[in-house]
């Protein structure tokens, strides 16, 4: 049977994470860079921003342009005809973020400022 097997052995789930309505801000530079990255695929693709455990500060951001996933569980924010998907699981951590874009050879690219973060890693990808 094993310690976790057998009939009549059920376990309660540890409570789900809190969900809030997400709002985000995006700078003009980020809008332009994102629009260029989309390459006209705004109808079929979305920007998916997420956070997950990792990095030196506890959580890491991830941004990806992906084919529109099943929208269930996501909050969808439309910015200049680009749909930004943020999952309810990440809503508390990502609510209020500001997405910026820096055009420089070193340390450039999309960057996220997060009012919920008490600390960020030097590389800017990890926060706590």
């Amino acid at each position: 049977m094993g310690i976790l097997g057998g009939g009549g052995f059920t376990l309660p789930v540890v409570s789900e994470v809190e969900v809030v309505d997400v709002s985000i801000d995006m700078t003009d530079a980020a809008r332009s860079a994102l629009s260029a990255s989309m390459g006209g695929d705004e109808d079929t693709h979305v920007l998916l921003i997420s956070a997950q455990s990792g990095g030196c500060s506890g959580y890491m951001y991830d941004m990806a342009i992906v084919e529109a996933p099943d929208a269930s569980g996501f909050q969808i924010i439309e910015i200049d005809k680009i749909r930004v998907f943020i999952h309810n699981k990440d809503s508390v951590m990502l609510n209020g973020i500001r997405v910026d874009y820096k055009d420089s050879l070193m340390g450039g690219g999309f960057q996220i400022e997060n009012p919920n973060a008490s600390k960020s890693c030097g590389c800017g990808q990890s926060f706590s």
Partner: protein, 313 residues
Amino acid sequence: MLPSPVDADNHSVDIMSKSESPKALVFESKSSISIFSGDGPADHLNNILTGDVSKLADGGRVDALVCDSNGRVRDVLSCFGIGDEIIVLGIYENMADTRSLLTAGIPWNKDLVLYDGNDALRHFMIHGEEAMELIKLLYPEIGEFPDNKFVSIGDVIVSKNSISHGRHIDIIYRSDDDSFMSRILENSVDVGAYEEWEVVRMQSRFPSAKEVDGTHLPSDIGLGELVSLNKGCYPGQEIHARLDSRGSEKKHIVTITSYEPIALGKSRLEGGLAIEVTSATEFGDRHIALAVAPKQISKGPVLTSIGQEYEIA
């Protein structure tokens, strides 16, 4: 020199065992018990813990720390691979924070669920120099097993804590299975009370929630061995790597005994060095405590700045 308090290793006070029982004591631990199930729990835990959990296989055990981004210890977790699931033992008082941390960072596209195992499972500890002898008394069929594995005897799993060199054994079993308690009774082995565990753990410098409170570095409280500096990023890794490269571990955990009550908190010793007493309790006509102390404090008798005599072990 002050006499030694109760000591599971030396069996100086016979509080647990009868006749010729091994020099080890049995306690029930009120631990936080969680079960991670679903899509890649080892990879998820590996992003959080100070030890490499990524290769945790069925029958394997990994002990590691949860630290904050300043490198301070928030919890001590023992992870047991059970098929595709992982049993996670932690410190009960830190359970809410740790569970929140473990669930908040689950990727949106991973079907990973954390279950509460506190009612379904029980956790016992055997602690002392002859812990292995005592487990063999209870389970004569058990063989040798390494620190990073556990053995299953029916629904009971038995394994060694990886930093206590065979002197601390964990036993986890289902609450609806009475086979472990039957063996305890058959062999006339008593189960110690919480107050006795407090004395034993202070003698052994075994940290509890009083030390693991988010204010101490791993090496300060004797947990430096649970930090891997080559596994990649985890919260606190930058701090731990910097401390290691600079060789600047300045504190360690010590046991203090005294005939007078030992006050919790910071106190200054004669000569100016300061210690932080994290746990303290009474034992017979004496008092015992754990303290985080500068490494330059040597063993033996010391006086506090107010003239109290402490014995540092």
